[in-house]
Symmetry: C2
Subunit: 331 residues, 2 copies
């Protein structure tokens, strides 16, 4: 910058003002400086800017795993929003490992990023309070429910989603409806509650044998479905905990020689982009995942800007997307 200043016959502060579009520089001078900048292809040194300006211009996004279509959607929502705001996204995967948690914590703490967005903070995540205490802006997506006061968080209306899916199956005539849960997140519990409530309102008894549990992965869906098919009175419909589980259910049904939805209806949760590509296309409860990421980002940016949030907790609406995998039960 000193070089540019010398070439343009001005001082460093003047060049700085020109680059930042600040007032206090005569039009002719500004033009001259700009020409020199363009000629030399000068770009500022980011670290120096970050140091004196006090902000890094980037935000840290922490997910459990990057190669997971659910997280990919969130990543996309966050990236787009940050890009629009002129910020960069630092992405970290934790894989539930303590070491990786510490690494990104260190990164955030040393002001490597201006704030952090956490997706589904897991067991190891005991650090949230510390971030908050140090005054570092944080926002959460699809949290597990234990949020320190004042931390922004975005979720979905899981109860309504579970209710709607179950109601849909009931209206098709199903009475033996199984559900596959997920990890013991608040969101999972709400979905199951929605399922139970819908059954009860329809006067259908809740059969605990029809409730399987496990992780949010395809294997869980596969194993759970196999268990369910072994029951004396197997279900005519399976409500998977998410779309990935539903793929596992598809596989179990395929191996058992059963057809969807003729023999068994399947419903997923999330509405990942791939769910409409499956054969048959998956009926699922849509969560606006990308929008959730975008919203959490906007809330974080507000926090960073020092603005007060209208509400620190926001839940976006889920909606049932009926495709090919749900139909009336075989007599």
């Amino acid at each position: 910058m000193a070089e540019i200043a010398a070439l343009a016959g001005v001082s460093k502060p003047t060049v700085s003002k020109v680059m930042n579009g600040q007032p206090g520089v005569a039009a002719t001078t500004r033009e001259r400086v700009e020409r020199v900048i363009a000629e030399r292809g000068y770009v500022r040194h980011g670290a120096a800017r970050a140091l004196s300006a006090g902000r890094s211009g980037s935000v840290n996004l922490v997910v459990k795993e990057v190669d997971n279509p659910y997280h990919a959607e969130i990543i996309r929502g966050v990236e787009e929003t940050l890009e629009r705001a002129g910020l960069s996204m630092v992405l970290t995967a934790t894989h539930d490992e303590e070491r990786r948690h510490r690494r990104w914590m260190a990164r955030v703490l040393e002001h490597g990023t201006d704030g952090a967005i956490l997706v589904l903070p897991d067991e190891h995540f005991t650090h949230l309070a510390e971030l908050h205490n140090r005054g570092i802006p944080v926002a959460l997506v699809d949290d597990r429910g234990e949020i320190p006061v004042g931390v922004a968080s975005v979720g979905a209306t899981n109860f309504a989603g579970g209710f709607a899916a179950t109601e849909h199956l009931l209206s098709l005539g199903h009475r033996r409806i199984a559900i596959i849960g997920g990890p013991s997140f608040k969101s999972t519990r709400e979905r199951v509650a929605g399922y139970r409530t819908a059954l009860q309102e329809a006067g259908v008894a809740v059969d605990p044998r029809l409730h399987q549990a496990g992780g949010f992965v395809a294997e869980t869906g596969y194993e759970a479905a196999k268990n369910l098919l072994r029951l004396d009175e197997p279900p005519t419909a399976i409500f998977a905990g998410n779309d990935l589980q539903a793929m596992g259910v598809y596989r179990a049904l395929y191996e058992a020689g059963l057809r969807t939805p003729d023999d068994v209806s399947v419903i997923g949760f999330d509405d990942l982009p791939l769910s409409r590509l499956l054969t048959p296309a998956l009926t699922t409860v849509r969560q606006p995942v990308r929008e959730m990421g975008a919203l959490a980002t906007r809330m974080l940016l507000q926090t960073i800007a020092g603005e007060k949030l209208e509400s620190s907790r926001v839940e976006l609406a889920t909606s049932l997307v009926v495709r090919e995998s749900s139909g009336p039960p075989k007599i």
Copy 2:
């Protein structure tokens, strides 16, 4: 840091040495300083470090879209490798938009990151040369073939993959084998060349009507398969350009009431994690995508460290993964 120094009764440089584990500090002093650091929970200011040390400790990864399972695998490979090296990953999606290209270029140029990894640089990418000229370390994954001398790049043995897939289908007895190409990348051309070579070696005539083209998305596979099924003499096997296209082929076959592999065999390319979850599980040509990302990262780190690369271009081996979607043709 000045505060820590005062509390420990030493000077800033001493604290700096302690934090960086440098010699020249007496054991007792070091211990005292470390205790104060721990007590106060002190963390260095990243920007200040980056400024004086001259490196940001992060690398920029540029992909076209983050919500794409192929890219997700690369992202994962890159992230893991960087994490192990103690660096952060800044992720940027371009969506082929000129504006986004400029943004990340600016970021890299202003030393916001120590280097960049580009995945499948697309049309808009005319900036590679500039980066190279400015001496900024760059590595490429799955490039299109036009690489400036000296830039590290990682690819896969696409010709061999195309050849192996076709040979597999031929050995099952197929003679009407269709292929769906992708964008006009070097990789695509090589795969098609492998396909043609395999056919010719087997003495099977290459029928241009059996060659469809389009993007690396499911819709392309869907449309292409519909076109192929309308032919007077439709194919008994379809070799999709990638796994996503294969999903589109599945859908077209499903809608046409055809069964896989009984009526039509399908082969994909990539071996994404989800390809084994499909029903039927997809036979595909495996590309070690994650490893390609990891390798490109390692090559970049070498470049950053100033080490000479043994070879600036590396191609990893593809391998055929036979699952359920390929079988002998119906008589």
